[in-house]
Amino acid sequence: MELSTIALFLGSFTLRIGFFLYGIYQDAHFEVKYTDIDYFVFNDAAKYAYYLQSPFLRDTYRYTPLLSWLLVPNHYFKWIHFGKMIFIGFDLLTGILIVVLLDCTSERRRKLLASLWLLNFMVITISTRGNAESVVCCLVVLTMYFLKIDNFVAAGIAYGTSIHFKLYPVMYCLPIAVFIYQTRSRSSSWFKNLIKIGISTATTAAALTFWMYKLYGYEYLDNAYLYHFYRTDHRHNFSLWNMLLYLDSATLKQSSWPKLAFVPQAAVTIALSFLLDNTASLSDLMSILFFQTFTFVAYNKVCTSQYFIWYLTFLPFYLQDTQISRKKGLFMLFLWVASQAFWLSQAYLLEFKGKNVFFNIFVASVSFFISNIWILGQMVEDHRIRNHSLKVKKSE
């Protein structure tokens, strides 16, 4: 490995340790805690798990029990921050896999793109605050790694585990299947591969879920999965749907918006899968997964900052071949940040000043949504133009 790559890893490791230590300091000395509220939920649930009880005894624990098992060492070592180191580990492993998976001609570019994850303050903050998103991100990237080395059974195991952890990666199954199908001209065993990954994914996800169901019964299914279908998403968040759903949740005769909200989301995510053609590379697949996740988050009924991590994992793979000019790229980034900042300023007025700014929050959500959709459209167009010109080059 090159010295500069080692320096990148060491640098990102040191940054994370720095944030981690600062977090411990802030928690001990300041009223506002650095540690995420959810981390305390995981930690409490892990305490029940440590004493061989159900993690669902902790109110609002709505995750797979595996997550609470991960944090059992917190109670063994009697150190609440231990689990954050596990999340940092997954976060760094994700970074390493991104470096391995990037398909760049220039080493410098590869490191620059990998830094988008490894040196990203948003990513670092989220994992050092004790958010578990890095676990799922790592499992999804690991799936890509196994696809790269043609180990379809292992890919299925990683992918199935990610679905068990958080439901959303299930939407990747269509583009992954289309991708394997599109390799038919290059690989005679494409059908065998598809069956392999299909069976191993389904078996892993089903086995883990059945195992947890055996241990914790209906309470597990209800909290980890069913809850997400009947919850009322009334508290303010970035989602375009939020204000409508809040007003709607209080009316006697509820409209069908909460149930219909997933239709446009599903339509776009499904449609994206068909952008993969028979020349598609693994990088193309990951660009599609990036678009898909971006779409999913933009159209989702609930949207908070931690969801952005889900697509940040795939951003380097889209960017490695982009033809968008630096100026335009910076403008897209500006739009994304500015509309988010506008929303955050309004949410601050509601949450901490008690101001009645629901209307402004709605306007901010709409502007964030529109920014997201425009950015997505530009990126997909760029991706298509680039693939088209590649094909033209090849046929010449």
Partner: protein
């Protein structure tokens, strides 16, 4: 049914002038005296008394009137406690359920105790407080009120009563803990005539001591309030004493809640949900009651959270209010605290303390917080804009996806 009337006048001299003792009645001229009227009823039950649930029902007017010195510390509004007292449930944890309502509701009382219906027929919740306690087969109904100046109160036996006793006292001396009352006590015969009236002197130790308003412990609602109201209680003036501890007892309405994982209260009963909006809580949830242990010598903070409230027509801010008590609970080591002639400790926060505890009330305040509500008039605009955004975005994206490049 027996009745006992106790009258206490703060003004020592005028007691005798205000009383006119006749053959079968005593007429008293009103002069701001405090009155406790107690009925004692034996319940008509066939079950063994030990199997009956203890019940306590209290009503306290929310408006700030002068504290009746005969009255225990009651929580504002209507409170129905059902359960067991300390002794039946081990040494530490009382076990009772509380239902609270801000408004007086006769049906809530009759539901539990149909026997008190005749007594409460003339009860005016705007003028008097109420403390009903049931232990075993005995129901004690205590009514507390103040006599208006120059009105006439006539005490005599009526057909419902089998026994009547009335005491008219003035405060001889009162210090932090001990009270001496001096006056006359009259007993009625069953035929309605007064049997005898005699000089009586009473000493007792107060279980509840109230600080004058100007020496109340500072208590502030932190500004700006936001969706997470914080109440600061300044105990920097107080030292740590081994036999005393400081507490805050709060009854919260449906709109507010305590996150027990965040702030570890001594207890939290009632609604404990951490996520639901107010309008999605089950209909039978009234709110919650909670008690926090406070540290002397520092400024303490109690963290509360508001729920989302039902949207209304127009831009509005809802108000949710709650009562907060700050008190010091000290072991007195003296059993005479429980031998108060006017009230016994019952269910409620007192049940968490030993019998010899003396409570010094440092501050009792009603706190109001505002919670912004969504505007229902925006519904159609939100709906139209959302749908428009979704439709246009779909057209735009599908064009980008599939239009020939």
């Amino acid at each position: 049914m027996r009745q006992r009337i106790s009258v206490v006048s703060k003004n020592h001299d005028v007691l005798s002038e205000d009383l006119d003792i006749q053959d079968n009645s005593v007429v008293m001229r009103g002069n701001g005296q405090f009155i406790q009227r107690r009925w004692t009823i034996e319940r008509n039950v066939t079950l063994p008394t030990s199997s009956l649930e203890a019940t306590r029902i209290t009503w306290k007017r929310a408006k700030n009137c002068q504290q009746n010195i005969l009255e225990p510390t009651l929580i504002n509004g209507l409170n129905v406690y059902v359960g067991n007292r300390t002794e039946s449930n081990g040494p530490m944890l009382p076990n009772f359920k509380l239902v609270h309502a801000d408004e007086f509701d006769e049906d809530m009382i009759y539901d539990k105790l149909p026997e008190v219906a005749t007594i409460l027929q003339k009860f005016d919740e705007g003028l008097a407080d109420l403390d009903i306690q049931v232990e075993g087969a005995t129901i004690k109904v205590d009514e507390y009120f103040q006599v208006e100046t120059d009105s006439l109160v006539k005490v005599k036996i009526d057909e419902h009563l089998s026994k009547l006793e009335a005491g008219f006292f003035s405060v001889e001396s009162e210090d932090n803990t001990e009270v001496t009352l001096n006056g006359v006590r009259c007993m009625w015969l069953e035929n309605g005539t007064i049997d005898k009236c005699q000089q009586t002197m009473l000493f007792y130790q107060q279980a509840h001591i109230r600080r004058p308003i100007d020496s109340r412990t500072p208590l502030t609602l932190r500004q700006p309030v936001g969706l997470h109201p914080n109440v600061a209680i300044d105990l920097r003036e107080h030292d740590n004493k081994t036999q005393c501890e400081f507490f805050s007892y709060i009854t919260l309405p449906r709109e507010l809640f305590v996150d027990k994982y965040q702030s570890s209260p001594v207890f939290l009963h009632g609604s404990q949900d951490l996520e639901l909006p107010e309008y999605k809580l089950p209909a039978d949830v009234w709110g919650s009651e909670t008690m926090f242990r406070l540290q002397p010598g520092i400024e303490n903070e109690i963290k509360l959270h508001s729920r989302y409230v039902r949207p209304v027509d127009g831009v509005a801010v809802n108000t949710a209010s709650f009562d907060l008590l700050v008190f010091k609970a000290c072991d007195s080591g003296s059993s005479s605290v429980r031998e108060n002639p006017f009230y016994s400790k019952g269910l409620g926060f007192e049940a968490y303390f030993t019998e010899d505890t003396v409570f010094t009330h440092l501050n009792t305040t009603k706190i109001e917080v505002s919670i912004p509500a969504g505007n229902m008039n925006d519904y159609h605009f939100f709906q139209l804009t959302t749908v428009l955004c979704v439709v246009v975005s779909l057209v735009y994206l599908f064009a980008k996806f599939f239009k020939n490049t």
